[in-house]
């Protein structure tokens, strides 16, 4: 098909809008000025050095990694059986229960954070760390259900029927037949849930406290009081992590199949 020149120019402008801010951040991270300057005047790696020597960044990065991985594993453990039930069985109240599973995405993040803070941290007096873990796990369940659900739908049900008619139990069938066929979906779902938990601000904002905070919250506090390229350098490092994750998703499920 012949491409319209006007449309082509429009699309270039839209992608420039999406990428120029990212390019500006990357450029300022190498600047030598003590404030965020664009175009940067000199070249320096001191902001990268700064990232690795700022104790709060390193400490909260570790916390972020830990809670995001654990929350994603919990969400998958709860989500995989749920997705299996929703795609393989017909039962009463299916739509209603499906909506329940998706409710963490319908409720605004700050509301989830606020009510969990009030109920779990204040009323139930659960330690902040476990509240944060619980909040992120719940937040990731819809993700797990959706991605796993769509890869389950791609698995031919007749294979399962064949296994069961040959005498395999439902559990055996799941682990021997279904599971090997959805591993790429599970890996992709893990990666996407992980990055979404890692990036989350609204829920973690309320569920952080003395000594327990995540990297995005620390970055936000830093930005409100400082204006130097340390955040630019940290952003570049995090974007490299995102690219790595996208690469894994592309190799497993394929970005186009999301």
């Amino acid at each position: 098909m012949k491409q319209n020149k006007g449309l082509f120019a429009f699309v270039i402008l839209v992608y420039s809008f999406l990428f120029i801010p990212i390019i500006i951040i990357a450029a300022t991270s190498f600047g030598s000025e003590s404030y965020v300057a664009f175009p940067p005047r000199g070249f320096s790696l001191k902001w990268y050095h700064n990232v690795f020597t700022t104790e709060s960044f390193i400490r909260t990065f570790k916390i972020s990694m830990e809670v995001s991985v654990l929350a994603t594993l919990i969400a998958l453990a709860l989500g995989i059986p749920g997705a299996y039930a929703l795609t393989r069985f017909d039962f009463k109240g299916k739509t209603l229960l499906k909506n329940f599973f998706f409710s963490p995405k319908i409720v605004p993040g700050v509301v989830t954070g606020f009510v969990m803070f009030q109920f779990i941290v204040i009323n139930l007096k659960l330690p902040i760390y476990y509240s944060l873990l619980l909040g992120l796990s719940i937040f990731e369940i819809p993700y797990a259900i959706r991605v796993i659900g769509s890869s389950l739908e791609m698995v031919d049900y007749t294979m399962e029927e064949a296994a069961m008619s040959l005498g395999a139990s439902r559990l055996q069938t799941f682990f021997r037949v279904v599971f090997p066929n959805i591993t790429s979906g599970i890996i992709a779902s893990f990666m996407l849930s992980f990055i979404s938990a890692f990036n989350n601000v609204p829920v973690t904002l309320f569920l952080s406290g003395p000594g327990i905070s995540t990297l995005p919250i620390t970055m936000m506090n830093y930005v409100e009081y400082n204006y130097d390229p340390t955040i630019s350098a940290l952003s570049v490092l995090l974007m490299l992590m995102t690219i790595g994750i996208m690469f894994v998703v592309e190799k497993t499920l394929g970005i186009n199949n999301l």
Binding site: F10, V11, L18, I24, F101, P108, Q118, R170, M219
Partner: protein, 275 residues
């Protein structure tokens, strides 16, 4: 037998969601409807009568609606281009669309601080070109929140649209053209109506996203231009007014459900008419 399995498999997830999300929501918002023993809505009428709160509510709606409209205007042609590109280019463009989506919202808002700040990229450029005499205040305005929100949610709109547009047969467009329609006319009469389902999903995602985003309004609007999500945080953490925060929480949930319900019902109606 089969059904028992289904409920058993879903039980753990559902129990966690009910115990740690649904019950906390109810325990926070039910008290706002009680006055002693009787049912009351006075906290809500008070909220909307208060000009300060009313202004924040209207600002949140305004920002979300404008964001949706701009995302649709920029997203529709872009998604169309992406969906009609050859496989290799489409893959690259989709990766370029998803990358910002997976990038932290703090980073994406920080980029706009760099651009819109008093000594930012835009002010410097305008000063150098002698278009303005002194730096303009671009940050901490509603405009800044809107630009930041469009930046945040445009990829979501493009992705929702591409999924639907990919399935539209290219022959339909060519048929319209060969019957004498101009490219633009063929687009509006053939492609756009068939893309409505994707557009609706995109609009719901962008609206609910923009109406509940915290990072962008906090970093680009600050305390000058509060929205519901920054208000709820301020009421809880700064003012300790948990009752007030619960009122805002209810309003946010109801708005989100109302908007989703309305748009979905609209979608169902359009489907009935066979558009």
């Amino acid at each position: 037998m089969k059904k028992k399995w289904a409920y058993l498999l879903m039980a753990p997830g559902l129990i966690v969601i009910v115990a740690f999300l649904i019950i906390p929501i109810l325990s926070s918002i039910l008290p706002t409807f009680h006055d002693g023993d009787s049912l009351t809505f006075s906290s809500y009428t008070d909220f909307f009568k208060d000009s300060y709160y009313n202004q924040i509510f209207m600002r949140t709606l305004r920002i979300s609606i404008i964001t949706v409209v701009i995302c649709a205007i920029l997203g529709v042609p872009t998604a169309y281009f992406v969906s009609k590109s050859n496989k290799k280019i489409r893959g690259i463009l989709i990766a370029c669309t998803i990358f910002p989506l997976l990038t932290n919202s703090v980073i994406r808002s920080f980029a706009w601080i760099t651009i819109l700040g008093r000594n930012g990229v835009l002010n410097n450029a305008l000063l150098t070109l002698n278009l303005i005499a002194e730096p303009k205040r671009l940050l901490y305005t509603e405009g800044a929140i809107i630009v930041g929100s469009v930046y945040l949610f445009l990829p979501l709109m493009i992705v929702s649209l591409v999924g639907v547009m990919e399935n539209i047969e290219g022959e339909l467009f060519e048929a319209a053209e060969s019957l004498g329609a101009s490219k633009i006319k063929a687009f509006f009469k053939v492609i756009l109506p068939l893309s409505v389902p994707g557009l609706i999903v995109g609009c719901v995602l962008v609206f609910t996203g923009a109406a509940s985003a915290y990072t962008t309004p906090q970093l680009l609007g600050g305390n000058r231009k509060m929205v519901l999500s920054t208000l709820i945080y301020q009421q809880t953490m700064t003012l300790g007014d948990w009752y007030g925060a619960s009122v805002v929480a209810t309003i946010m949930i109801v708005t989100s459900i109302l908007v989703m319900g309305t748009i979905n019902r609209l979608a169902a109606k359009l489907n009935e008419r066979g558009v």
